[in-house]
């Protein structure tokens, strides 16, 4: 069968094969998981069960249940002083993944360029390409903690056709986040260049050293920003597939159009569970964050002691250490480590061609696993 050229072009084949290798192996320790190792808090699961029992099994409005949208508006107001109208400025999506796709599809005309930091989450480039746009990758590295700078963005905007910037903080895969001052500098360029910012803040509650600042809360930024968030990371609800997009009315309207034809609505059971998360789940968020903070210190110290230098990530549950010391390409390093020591992690190259010298380690894992995998990596490096 003739597959679309656009899709054919997407295939990240080497990484896919490595993933299959990992999934086929038993008794390994995995530091390669991009989700919390906590199970969804019981009060949220219990609400999902209750909703099923009560017969909440129907479609909801395309935008999502009005009660949930109202609750999100209320939460954002109190948590971040963000004001979005639940009627017209909030759309419930099937995870931030869908929201990212909707954002670029609603915005881009063929050939429009989108700035994306590298490394970035794996879907950013592909969703832009599928939407007919052209990703422009802005390289970051360990020297400044993988931070995108205002100058870099400004310089990239000198070329024609740059319409939007995708940013994710705290970042998967680097854990990097930005302080308010750093974001304000970027905001200045955004206004100057009239860029639209697609701001993926799914890890916001896992920010460790300072308060998280939503991009749209910066002065004058509201009209430029599509704010994306969801329940997966803060509430350990990845399998519920629930996210949301907030932004100016016209963009949310456009995204809703696509969403109604392609997704119809997010699962009602997830939407019911999410209401419980917002109502009573925050205590669990605080508890989980505390635990991640401890593991972060544990793993960062351990890796630096092994000579795999890494910066102290400001958020999420990832570290992105340099593997220069191993003198191997990231995929080879990951494969060999898996075969010889049964430790799985994600090769840096999955997040961009410039990341050959790095791997992504997820510390959403028990102390015992972290301790044991550090020991095994040490053995591997000594060989």
């Amino acid at each position: 069968m003739q597959i679309s050229k656009k899709v054919e072009h997407l295939a990240p084949s080497g990484i896919r094969a490595f993933f299959d290798l990992v999934l086929g192996m038993k008794d390994i320790i995995s530091l390669g998981v991009g989700e919390p190792d906590f199970i969804t808090p019981w009060l949220i699961r219990e609400k999902a069960i209750y909703s099923l029992e009560k017969g909440y099994t129907s479609y909801t409005s395309n935008k999502g249940m009005p009660e949930l949208r109202k609750q999100i508006a209320h939460f954002l107001h109190h948590r971040h002083n963000l004001d979005y109208d639940p009627e017209e400025e909030i759309l419930i999506t099937v995870g931030v993944s869908e929201a990212l796709d909707l954002s670029v599809r609603a915005l881009l005309n063929p050939g429009d360029k989108v700035l994306i930091p590298e490394p970035s989450y794996v879907s950013y480039g592909p969703v832009v390409e599928l939407a007919g746009g052209r990703p422009v990758f802005l390289k970051t590295d360990i020297s400044n903690g993988f931070k995108l700078t205002a100058q870099q963005i400004d310089k990239a905007c000198a070329q024609k056709g740059v319409k939007a910037l995708m940013i994710n903080y705290p970042c998967n895969p680097t854990g990097t986040s930005y302080r308010k001052e750093e974001l304000s500098e970027i905001a200045h360029v955004v206004a100057k260049r009239n860029l639209i910012v697609i701001s993926d803040e799914i890890y916001d509650e896992l920010t460790y050293d300072f308060e998280h600042t939503p991009f749209s809360s910066l002065k004058g930024m509201r009209k430029y920003v599509i704010y994306l968030n969801g329940f997966s990371k803060a509430y350990a609800m990845t399998g519920f597939r629930l996210g949301y997009a907030c932004g100016p009315r016209d963009i949310i309207e456009a995204m809703t159009k696509i969403h109604q034809y392609t997704m119809l609505c997010a699962s009602i059971i997830s939407q019911m569970a999410a209401q419980e998360a917002l109502k009573n789940g925050f205590r669990e968020v605080v508890q989980m964050k505390k635990e991640y903070m401890r593991r972060r210190r544990f793993i960062v110290d351990g890796l630096n002691e092994l000579g795999l230098s890494c910066h102290l990530p400001e958020g999420a549950f990832y570290v992105f250490p340099s593997i220069v010391k191993a003198k191997e390409k990231s995929l080879d390093f990951a494969k060999n480590l898996l075969r010889q020591q049964k430790v799985a992690l994600v090769p840096g190259v999955a997040f961009g061609p410039s990341c050959e010298d790095y791997v992504r380690i997820s510390y959403a894992s028990s102390y015992e696993n972290l301790r044991e995998s550090l020991r095994r990596i040490k053995v591997y490096l000594q060989k």
Binding site: L23, S30, V33, I39, R294, F298, A344, A350, Y367
Partner: protein, 161 residues
């Protein structure tokens, strides 16, 4: 609560070095704080949570929760009687509680007979003890915050973005 206590409550086997890493404190400070807590009795002891239901060999294990009604005594209230009760090694826990009875006493032994004998011969005859209601424990589902059933771990894939 002090973070050192928080991590130790969850895993008593952590070394001071590891606790220092987890909490971002200095190793010497962690050691000092732990010693202080041990001395003050804030840290009482380090123990292992055992699921006796899964032990196939050795002695059997019986636990009873006993509600004890007491006549309080002048000046000392419940404390003197409580002391007489909790001093028996068979008593594993003893709490003064509000409500329909006064002391909740947890007694362990290797058979129903030993536990009943203890209640009949030692506990019930104490002067100020008015009455006892004994509940033999049938099954332990959760102890010290730990669900004892295996297989409730996350079911996530071993690798994902």
């Amino acid at each position: 609560m002090d973070e050192i206590l928080e991590v130790l409550e969850n895993d008593a086997r952590l070394s001071p070095e590891e606790i220092a890493k987890l909490t971002g404190k200095k190793i010497v400070d962690v050691k000092k704080t732990i010693q202080k807590y041990e001395k003050e009795g804030v840290i009482v002891k380090y123990k292992t949570v055992v699921n006796h239901d899964l032990m196939r060999e050795g002695k059997s294990f019986v636990r009873a929760l006993i509600e004890v009604g007491i006549t309080p005594q002048k000046d000392v209230g419940f404390d003197a009687v409580a002391e007489r009760i909790y001093s028996f090694p068979e008593v594993k826990s003893c709490y003064l509680v509000s409500g329909a009875y006064d002391l909740l006493v947890v007694v362990e032994g290797d058979s129903i007979e030993t536990v009943s004998n203890f209640i009949a011969a030692k506990l019930a005859p104490i002067e100020s003890v008015q009455r006892t209601v004994t509940h033999f424990m049938l099954k332990k589902y959760k102890e010290d915050g730990q669900i004892l059933k295996k297989g409730n771990q996350t079911k996530r894939l071993n690798i994902s973005y």
